[in-house]
């Protein structure tokens, strides 16, 4: 058995080949997909309309896997053991895996041919084009995907309607009470909900353009875009024509090993009928893929049905359902003012938890889902009020914590005690728990805490505090020197870890000169000499060039300085110019020339704002929609000199083409027709990460206020040398939490953060100018204290491509 052919290339196929590769399968794997790209994340599909690219969504193809994209399979020849593709070719297999997925169900109503469906990137492209000339749109189907589609229409600027046959929205996840709370949330956002309504036909005008939808009672819903999201049908036609067993209502019949009625053919994902069920959720589908891969590799894994519990956030509303949706008894908590609805179903003896529904606050999902089928851990009324009661529950070992990857509390305890997992990352690596949807991560943290694992957050041997705690100590106790801090709150005399960290905290809070008094002894050599040390002990100099905009006169000055001091020059990635090879005693002379020409420190040496890169923007570019250069300069001047836990990079792009690469930055701004989209937490470096969209279509003032708070909140709470990317990933509640804190002021911090930024801006002064004005500070810039005029003889240069390069003198 060495040739495996997979038909269909969606998430289930992806997980299948990924698992095979992980398990060391060494034969030939061919995946044939009809879409033009490999599998992509359909759960995040809607983000495609707000800037995420198809490439971002696409999963990487595991090494060694052969893909045939844009290719339809038209038949299976089981006798010959090959599949036939539409070009007439044959792909031989030893094992065939059908992962053909499902197709959106479009009811046979008149005019349906004018409607769209919501499944693929191409569907979204088509909807986007149609939305350009439309004012209103309607989605038929008020389930999970229907609400996603309605959100997408809204994001495209349309007034959106939702038509749902059932008397309330999301009938598979919530009951009537939950549905009504959900409806009021959604209507508050300006969407119209037509529940308990069907579709008579799609109405068009004389030229075949869609004008609306007619309900069976004859009333019309005006819409120029119609999207069907009325359920899915498994794509079993290949299996059917090959004579494999299929279900009465569709779906390829499989056993618990995911084998079809032909033992050399497997089926996984939405096309499979497992235990009489077709599953449309990603969790069960990827489990099926893993089971099939294990079986093919000789393993014993089986698929025994899946937990259909769901927790999601749709249109900003948390919705969750777990376990059963009815029971002998139920307890309901409802707060129509806050828009919260929570209900638990329990057994007739009031002892066993059967399930629950949440709208507006999904916190019971995380804490209570593992108790389904088990004794109630507390009185139901206590469990329904948010808070500590539910959070301190002791989970039984067989309680499932991660439903995506089927990991129980006992597995996690074993990983902690047996395999030494000491943090969430360790548990993820050992068990895969928390690696798919992430909703169980708070549970993982609790299990860690309960197991008594003391996660040391000490900065170093001198302080038992984390950086964030030290920041608060310095701020609250108004401490202004390192000596005071270490005497009162630490031990010893510090080191290369805590000293720069405290120097940064003092600079963030007080914004004094980094070389003033005792502070000078806290700085890393880069900050101590206001330049970047290089491998041979020389330094490089980067003047600030805000937004990358520079006059010819200033360019000439940089060229002259470099020429006169014999420096190596290179253009940086941040649209600046780096001058290399300066000895310490040359730095003041170099900067005297630069400051006289109007340059300031670029802080390339500091854990501070570096540069705000920009594209040329609407001033020159025929595509630009906003003045990205002007914005980049304004931001760079606003935040220059701001010390932070790690370096900060930014960029502004003038349109969605994103030439400034803003999404690889700590904070990136991309212009839209309506304003600015703000992305945060991007990173290049050795662990690249695209920034996440924090807020859309902001006005200039709102954009700046949001960035102010983002930066100050990061500076307050991040660990030492933790870039914004890792910081956001470490936040409990992630991006949503960040939004609550800095945009909705959930912690009441915003006034403080704003004031802190105002203080920074009001007290900014150019570090190099101040150094040149102070003979005391300047006296440090010598190679030899006993021979100030003598250059360091160990520094020698060779030459390469017409410039200097370090040479060795040993």
């Amino acid at each position: 058995m060495n040739r495996i052919v997979v038909v269909g290339y969606g998430p289930a196929a992806h997980r299948f080949v990924e698992t095979l590769a992980d398990k060391g399968f060494d034969g030939r794997i061919t995946v044939i997909g009809e879409e033009p790209r490999p599998a992509y994340d359909r759960v995040a599909l809607t983000s495609y309309l707000s800037g995420t690219t198809a490439e971002d969504l696409t999963y990487p193809v595991p090494g060694g896997v052969v893909t045939r994209l844009n290719t339809r399979v038209t038949g299976i020849d089981r006798q010959a053991g090959h599949v036939v593709t539409e070009d007439g070719g044959a792909e031989p297999y030893d094992v065939l895996v059908l992962a053909t997925g499902s197709a959106p169900f479009v009811p046979p109503v008149p005019g349906a041919e004018h409607a769209f469906v919501y499944r693929t990137i191409e569907d979204l492209d088509a909807i986007r084009v149609a939305a350009k000339d439309a004012a209103e749109g309607v989605v038929i189907g008020g389930g999970l995907l229907g609400l996603e589609a309605a959100d997408a229409l809204r994001a495209l600027g349309l007034k959106a309607h939702i038509v749902e046959m059932s008397p309330w929205l999301m009938p598979r996840q919530v009951d009537e009470g939950g549905g009504s709370v959900l409806k009021s949330h959604i209507e508050e956002l300006g969407l119209s909900v037509h529940a308990g309504a069907g579709v008579q036909d799609i109405v068009t005008d004389g030229e075949g353009r869609v004008t609306g939808l007619r309900k069976p009672d004859g009333t019309l819903v005006d819409a120029q875009v119609v999207v069907f999201s009325a359920g899915i049908r498994p794509r079993d036609e290949l299996a059917r024509s090959a004579g494999l067993a299929v279900g009465e209502r569709g779906g390829i019949v499989v056993d618990s090993a995911m084998r079809t009625s032909d033992p050399s053919i497997y089926a996984v994902g939405e096309c499979a009928l497992a235990g009489g069920m077709v599953y449309g959720l990603v969790g069960p589908c990827t489990t099926m893929a893993e089971v099939a891969a294990e079986q093919i590799m000789g393993g014993q894994a089986v698929f025994e049905g899946a937990d259909l519990s769901t927790k999601l956030k749709l249109l900003g509303v948390e919705v969750a359902q777990f376990g059963a949706m009815d029971g002998a008894l139920d307890v309901t908590y409802m707060d129509p003012v806050a828009g919260v609805y929570k209900k638990l179903f329990i057994s007739d003896d009031a002892q066993t938890l059967l399930g629950g529904i949440c709208v507006g606050d999904a916190s019971p999902y995380t804490t209570l889902r593992p108790f389904v089928g088990k004794p109630l851990p507390a009185a139901p009324s206590d469990l329904l009020f948010t808070g500590s009661g539910a959070a301190s529950l002791d989970l039984p070992d067989d309680a499932q914590v991660c439903s995506c990857n089927n990991v129980c509390a006992g597995d996690i305890r074993t990983a902690i005690a047996g395999s030494g997992a000491a943090d969430v990352a360790g548990i993820k690596a050992c068990t895969r728990a928390g690696t798919t949807c992430g909703s169980c991560v708070p549970m993982l943290k609790q299990l860690l805490e309960k197991s008594g694992v003391e996660v040391s957050k000490s900065l170093c041997e001198h302080f038992t505090y984390s950086r964030a705690e030290l920041f608060d100590i310095v701020r609250v106790r108004k401490i202004s020197t390192f000596s005071q801090l270490i005497t009162e709150h630490g031990q010893g005399r510090g080191c290369d870890i805590c000293k720069p960290a405290v120097a940064s905290i003092l600079a963030s809070l007080h914004n004094g000169h980094v070389l003033e008094g005792e502070r000078a002894a806290l700085q890393d050599t880069n900050d101590a000499f206001l330049a970047n040390i290089q491998k041979n002990g020389t330094y490089s100099v980067v003047p600030r060039i805000p937004g990358g905009e520079i006059t010819p006169d200033k360019l000439i000055v940089i060229g002259e300085v470099a020429r006169d001091f014999g420096l190596y020059t290179k253009i940086t990635g941040g649209q600046r110019i780096d001058l290399f090879g300066a000895r310490v005693e040359q730095l003041p002379e170099i900067w005297r020339r630069l400051v006289d020409a109007g340059f300031e420190s670029g802080h390339a040496y500091g854990k501070a704002l570096r540069t705000v890169k920009s594209c040329v923007g609407s001033t020159w570019c025929r595509y630009g929609v906003q003045d990205s250069v002007g914005m980049a300069i304004a931001l760079e001047l606003r935040y220059r000199g701001l010390r932070s836990p790690h370096k900060l990079k930014s960029a502004v792009s003038g349109c969605a083409r994103e030439c400034a690469e803003a999404r690889s930055k700590d904070f990136g701004i991309i212009a839209t027709e309506q304003g600015w989209n703000l992305y945060v937490g991007g990173n290049g470096g050795f662990k690249p990460r695209h920034a996440d969209l924090l807020a859309k279509d902001l006005g200039t003032d709102e954009l700046i206020r949001t960035i102010d708070r983002f930066l100050m909140f990061y500076i307050r709470t991040a660990d030492r040398l933790q870039r914004t990317a890792a910081w956001i990933e470490s936040l409990d509640g992630g991006l949503d939490y960040l939004r609550e804190v800095i945009m909705e002021d959930s912690l009441g911090l915003c006034a403080d953060l704003d004031a802190q930024m105002e203080h920074h801006i009001a007290t900014y002064a150019d570090e190099w100018q101040a150094t040149l004005d102070d003979p005391d500070k300047l006296s440090r810039f010598v190679s030899f204290v006993n021979a100030p005029g003598v250059p360091d003889p160990s520094i020698v240069f060779g030459s390469e491509r017409g410039q200097i390069r370090p040479a060795v003198a040993r």
Partner: protein, 106 residues
């Protein structure tokens, strides 16, 4: 023993270093928080660059130290031993204050 004057003791800032050129030897001289002086070779043995005088001065379990500014290996100011890599040591030189002036002997 020949002593070479380096600079005024008062010009040395607590927990910072300076570099002196003695003949063709580069000596890094440090003043710790308690006022004591220490002198090491300025050459960082890991990179070969003459930079130790520009490192951060601190303590490790009470022992006064300097960290190389290039790759942060920590050296004892007392013994010159690298506390992160046992086999590596930098030379230590005698240092004293005479008439308010810091002097080293190479």
């Amino acid at each position: 023993m020949t002593w070479t004057p380096v600079c005024d003791y008062d010009a040395m800032l607590p927990e910072r270093g300076v570099c002196a050129l003695v003949g063709n030897v580069q000596v890094a001289v440090f003043r710790t928080y308690d006022g004591a002086l220490h002198a090491l070779a300025n050459r960082d043995p890991f990179s070969g660059a003459y930079v130790l005088s520009r490192g951060i001065v601190g303590t490790r379990k009470g022992e006064p130290t300097v960290a190389s500014p290039l790759h942060k290996q920590v050296f004892s100011l007392v013994s010159g031993r690298c506390l992160d890599e046992d086999a590596v040591t930098v030379p230590v030189y005698p240092v004293r204050v005479a008439g308010g002036c810091v002097e080293v002997s190479v």
